[in-house]
Amino acid sequence: MRILTKLRNEGRHFWRGKSLFFLSLPAMAIVFVFYYLPMFGIVIAFKDINYAKGIWGSDWAGLTNFKFFFQSQDAMRITRNTLLLNGVFIAVGIFCAVVIGLLMAELGRKWVRIFQTVLFFPYFLSWVVVGFVTYILLNPTYGVIDKTMEWMNITPVDWYSKPGYWPFILTLTYLWKNVGYTAIIFFTGLIAIDSTYYEAASIDGASRFQQIRKISIPLIVPLITLLVILNIGRIFYSDFGLFYFIPRDAGMLYSTTDVVDTYVFRSLRVTGDLGMASAASLYQAVVGLVLVFSTNLIVRKFNKENALF
């Protein structure tokens, strides 16, 4: 009986707020369909997919898909590549962005406006277009880099078949596209610092360099921490376009360029191995969730305000 009255009460409350509910309903429906429905699709990873029986009617396979996935060499390779490459991107990317942001804050307004526009620009190009740019540089027959090497009497390199160079190439491409964007985040953080700190410091005779070390850097540390945390929480997810278009999906480069996302995509759309694809996909989702929660937990320990939730 008590439950019934509770339900009736809830119903009454609901009815009072119904207009707001219906206002948000279309968007909630989209979120449900595109984010929550797929969560039920996770069961695919535990099935032996047989298209004749249909996806939902296929037999249960238990952990077979996972066994195959983790016994293959692929699991090791894509895990290593994903963690190492994205880890390098976070470390190098944020370091460079902080340095550029600090230097940008030393410039006058006119210069800032010009350089900001230029450095920000590549962020707005799609990876497909960036792929055209790297192709012009790296093309083994006509490429700018190989032609320059030829001119300098260095033996040209066939970049698209030498996996050893790719961690560097990918990092440089990542920086080329993203460093301006991150630098501007730090720059805007820096110009928001109260100028009286700097005035006081210069009255006390602090040099510009000392001011940066003792005022600017300590005051943007929270912003740096925040970005590092957000990025580490997502370290198991890669920027697909970078890893797919820049190496041009060249099989010879997989040993250093293949990450979880590209692997899942290929298994799903190219080789059509749904079992492997769904196992790898679920592996990514679970590790991703664990990473988000653990980084958040660590942040909460240090500083509650910076925590995501």
């Binding site: 968007a27 989209i30 984010y35 006058g108 190009l125 799609s126 490429g143 100028s195 996909s281």
Partner: protein
Amino acid sequence: MRKLNVEKAGNQPWIIVLFIFLSLLIIFPLLYVVSVSLTNDGDIARYGYQLIPKHASFQAYEYIFQTPKALLQSYLITIVVTVAGTMLALLLTSSLAYVMTRKDYRYSKLTTFFVFFTLLFNAGLVPSYIIATNVLHIQDTIWALILPYSVSAWFTMLMKGFMDGLPFEIIEAAKIDGSSEFGIYARIVLPLSKPALATVGLFYALAYWNDWWLAMLYIQREELIPLQYYLQRIMTNIEFLTKSMQAGMNVDMSTIPTESSRMAIAILAAGPMMFAFPFFQKYLIKGLTVGSIKG
């Protein structure tokens, strides 16, 4: 607002030189794309890609404009998707964000959690793909290019951040005057959120304009291929380009300047972005700072 830079010694030459160097690193590779599109293929074969073409030629562009159908079609798809998608996304996002800010609504916290949770856990590519193709059956329709991006949890949180600053008293007053909730949203909240709508709208527009991912997953029909995916296909498969150029006319395949045409199409596809960029840069930086501070 702040005259920080005035007080500093500022504008040290070595810093300016360093930034000029960085800028050149960004500009040069882009200039190469332009130059290669203006070089004839014979020169490319002989000298490789060059910054200053030995003989400038518009051959590539002429070829493209002889049979522009495929390019124009993908342009059209991209424009339709960007315009319709951005408008739909703004309507959905703003209504959702607005409801989340209404503290007197019993389920506002629950709604926020419902959206926020998707940032924490994502089912992944395979289940999403299966749902879209086997349950919703949106593959090979224009909806496949629009709907999946129409509510982004990030942009909804960003929008909510803006809307939290709206004066609640106005809404209260309108309610007392007898306005319906929908009327309040349409006539008071939306006009007051114009700056937020501009910023978030630009982010959505950019996401739609630059998208190749949804097309790569869901689109097989030639006439639905958007610009970025079209570009990607001519990059991986030059025959795709020559085929569409040959269609309708009798040309010898070998005379088509493939190398330069490829780059010319890249210019034609990325060009509008280059010109539009300086105008909306300001809004994007505004949104970016709000987003980063809010976390």
